[in-house]
């Protein structure tokens, strides 16, 4: 990262750190200091707040030093300048790739794992993330992300509206069946798109195999050998 940008980020981090340390210290001051807790008369030096106070104080001091350095080195000025021009800022391709990875992780951990079968969750996650990056085409990745996003929105609606419970009441594996259908749909869609976009079909085939074999290995060999659940 270039120096100017680094100092800009230092400015934001410093402000964030100072705010965080204020919150941390405020919480620490709520902890028992010299009063009794659990029937035990406490002293300041045995208080559970002792280390949090040191940490909060240290973070505040270092945050202030970072802030001063960011202001002196022009980080604050260039930050405000960048904020003023924020309409012109374009998202770079690497940033989009990072967002895709984070989106895949978030939907896998917070949405799929609690509501969909673990095997299917891993398969979906692996298929989406591998198909997005392995063919090395930004357009293909965007199309896959859009389809996956639609699927995740549908799952979110099922969860939020309580439809998931209703479906499970009818047949306990209903959500899993929907996830399986979504996986098949993604597979077909990626093949059609690959053909349209001149992407080798071999790549999609390899991604499909990986999305099936990895959870299969996890379920058979590893769960037996390492006594996983």
């Amino acid at each position: 990262m270039e120096e100017k940008k680094l100092r800009q980020y230092d400015f934001i981090t410093a402000v964030g750190l100072i705010l965080f340390s204020i919150w941390e210290l405020a919480q620490a001051f709520k902890m028992p200091m010299k009063d009794t807790y659990g029937g035990v008369q406490s002293e300041w030096y045995v208080s559970p707040a002792l280390l949090p106070l040191i940490i909060g104080g240290g973070l505040m001091l270092l945050g202030a030093i970072l802030l001063v350095n960011a202001v002196r080195s022009g980080g604050a000025a260039s930050f405000f300048e960048a904020v003023g021009k924020s309409g012109k800022v374009k998202m770079t391709e690497p940033t989009r790739r990072v967002i895709t990875v984070v989106f895949a992780f978030v939907s896998f951990i917070y949405l799929m794992i609690p509501h969909v079968d673990f095997f299917l969750s891993i398969s979906l996650f692996l298929f989406y993330i591998s198909a997005s990056f392995y063919p090395d085409s930004d357009d293909f990745r965007k199309k896959m992300t859009f389809q996956f996003l639609l699927g995740m929105i549908a799952l979110l609606i099922l969860v939020v509206t309580g439809l998931e419970g209703v479906l499970k009441g009818i047949l306990s594996y209903n959500v899993d069946i929907l996830a399986l259908l979504f996986l098949i749909y993604l597979n077909i869609y990626s093949r059609i798109m690959a053909r349209k976009m001149d992407i080798q079909r071999k790549l999609i085939r390899q991604v499909t195999w990986i999305s099936i074999l990895v959870p299969l290995v996890r379920y058979s060999a590893i769960s037996f050998w390492c006594r996983y659940p």
């Binding site: 230092d10 919480q27 030096y45 559970p48 949090p52 970072l66 951990i109 959870p215 996890r218 390492c226």
Partner: protein, 517 residues
């Protein structure tokens, strides 16, 4: 215990381990896995140890240690493959190796360069192991004399020195990372009064944060994100026919090997400082000591041997504070600490009393791992290079799944996953903003030790800090911490430079007058 008894335990441990074919299989398997992890840019020995930790959950302690030490040794060595063959170090530890390893490969000597890195790494590991055996009883005995103040200061020293030496930008960014780590360690009920700190009323947080998901999140997730973001590809690797050990060249470089081993062990023993720094320091020292420094950077054999010896001897160095003080010497050692705890082993001064043979067993495993690494390196290198050609965009999603399974498997808590991801994302941004992650991890690991010992010490002294000044070890630690902190203040830096210049001029004057006389 005399000399023969530890030797007997050491040999018995080796016999016991190799008598079980499963151990041999696991040893070679984990070493090769380590080499692949080390050789693949984006994967590191730390991540390898982290992921394997969860797989060792159902194993007995000895077998688990064989697997973990195997992947650690293999991981540190494996980085040299891509450093030599494609000029891209697989791990930061082998960054210095690339400077001269790759020019050697360009001269058509890739096999020779890999042979030298393999043998130097094996020798480095063995020398590191010797230091573990020699220094552990001394440090352990010394640590038994430590009071709570010393343990608190040791934890603080670990965080400060790790923050100071690992920061690539402003030094205090390392300290900030350390303090964030300490904060994470305070989450949960405190161990003296059981008061819930920063739990937000969530029962899942009352027991504190599980170490393994935090480590996987902090080390694994940022690496996955960075590798996928940069769309890293290995295009062509330098060709080689055979890997040759070249004992003659090794024999000629014995002084460099010994020097680099000492550097590696010394740096490894400093909390939180990893194999990468050992490699660079050793490279710099080798260049200064060399009769032909002009050859460095153009394929100097001495440079390759020095860096690889140092980064692998660092493993032994990192094990010394880990086993005897409970303070990890390097990021992979931090992960090993988590693995030890998972298997019911509490490293620290009491380890030699609770498990008198454990340190010797670990050294026996280190010796076996270095042999397995040498054999695998010499005979299986071509196969490893083939694995390197698997695209990272296919490899990384599988690693992501392993990270997730690994975090979940320990304790079978989905909550660990909820925790791992935010920590990973925060660690990614911190890394991008040049905050080192090692001090954060050291903070998380040593937080509890710092908290408990500070309060215990003050309880004994009735709130007085005077014992710190009355005990020599505490006093030394306080002074070192103060110098490290003050060293960042411009006024102190000027004073330091002035004193240095004064001492040097005085020395020169004395030398000049002696020459005249």
């Amino acid at each position: 215990m005399g000399f023969l008894e530890p030797l007997q335990i050491f040999l018995m441990s080796i016999v016991g381990l190799i008598a079980n074919p499963v151990n041999i299989l696991i040893l070679f398997g984990s070493v090769i896995m380590g080499i692949i992890f080390g050789a693949t840019p984006g994967l590191t020995a730390t991540l390898g140890v982290a992921l394997l930790t969860t797989l060792t959950y159902g194993m007995d302690v000895s077998t688990a240690m064989v697997a973990l030490m195997g992947i650690y040794v293999g991981g540190v060595y494996g980085g040299s493959y891509t450093a030599v063959l494609v000029n891209i170090p697989g791990t930061a530890a082998s960054a210095a190796t690339a400077l001269d390893g790759y020019p050697l490969a360009r001269k058509g000597q890739a096999g020779r360069a890999l042979g030298l890195t393999t043998t130097a790494s094996a020798i480095g590991t063995v020398i590191g192991m010797v230091f573990v055996v020699l220094l552990s009883p001394v440090i352990s005995a010394l640590a038994l004399e430590f009071t709570s103040f010393e343990f608190f200061l040791l934890a603080l020293f670990g965080i400060v020195i790790s923050g100071t030496l690992t920061s690539q930008d402003l030094v205090y960014k390392g300290w900030i990372a350390g303090l964030i780590g300490l904060f994470l360690a305070t989450i949960g009920r405190d161990s003296l009064q059981f008061f819930p700190r920063y739990t937000f009323g969530m029962s899942e947080l009352e027991g504190g944060l599980d170490l393994v998901p935090v480590l996987i999140g902090a080390f694994g997730i940022p690496q996955i994100m960075q590798t996928i973001r940069d769309n890293f590809k290995i295009s062509e690797t330098s060709e080689f026919k055979k890997i040759l050990p070249e004992w003659k060249t090794i024999g000629k470089n014995i002084p460099a090997i010994l020097r680099s081993s000492l550097i590696g062990v010394g740096i490894g023993a400093v909390p939180g400082i990893g194999e990468d720094i050992a490699g660079w320091v050793s490279y710099g020292t080798a260049k200064k000591a060399s009769k032909h420094p002009e050859e460095f950077g153009k394929g100097a054999v001495e440079a390759v041997i020095s860096t690889e010896t140092a980064n692998n001897s660092c493993i032994g160095g990192a094990m010394i504070p880990l086993l005897n003080l409970g303070i990890p010497g390097s990021p992979p050692a931090a992960m090993l600490l988590g693995a030890f705890m998972l298997h019911g082993i509490q490293p620290g001064p009491m380890l030699n009393i609770d498990r008198p043979t454990f340190v010797l067993e670990i050294t026996a495993i280190l010796l076996l791992a270095s042999i397995a690494m040498w054999v695998s390196g010499i005979f299986l290198s071509k196969q490893v290079v083939k694995v390197l050609k698997v695209p990272t965009s296919l490899f990384m999603p599988i690693i992501s799944v392993l990270c997730i399974i690994g975090s979940y498997a320990l304790g079978m808590r989905v909550f660990n996953l909820y925790l791992m991801l935010p920590i990973g994302i925060i660690a990614y941004f911190l890394t991008e903003m040049k905050y080192p992650i090692a001090p954060l991890i050291i903070g998380v690991i040593l937080g509890d030790m710092a908290d408990q010992n500070l309060r215990r010490a003050l309880m004994v002294s009735q709130g007085s800090f005077m014992p710190v000044l009355q005990r020599p070890v505490s006093l030394v630690l306080v002074l070192v911490i103060l110098i490290l902190i003050a060293g960042q203040i411009p006024a102190f830096q000027k004073l330091q430079a002035g004193v240095k210049a004064g001492v040097l001029s005085l020395f020169k004057k004395k030398q000049g007058s002696a020459d005249n006389a």
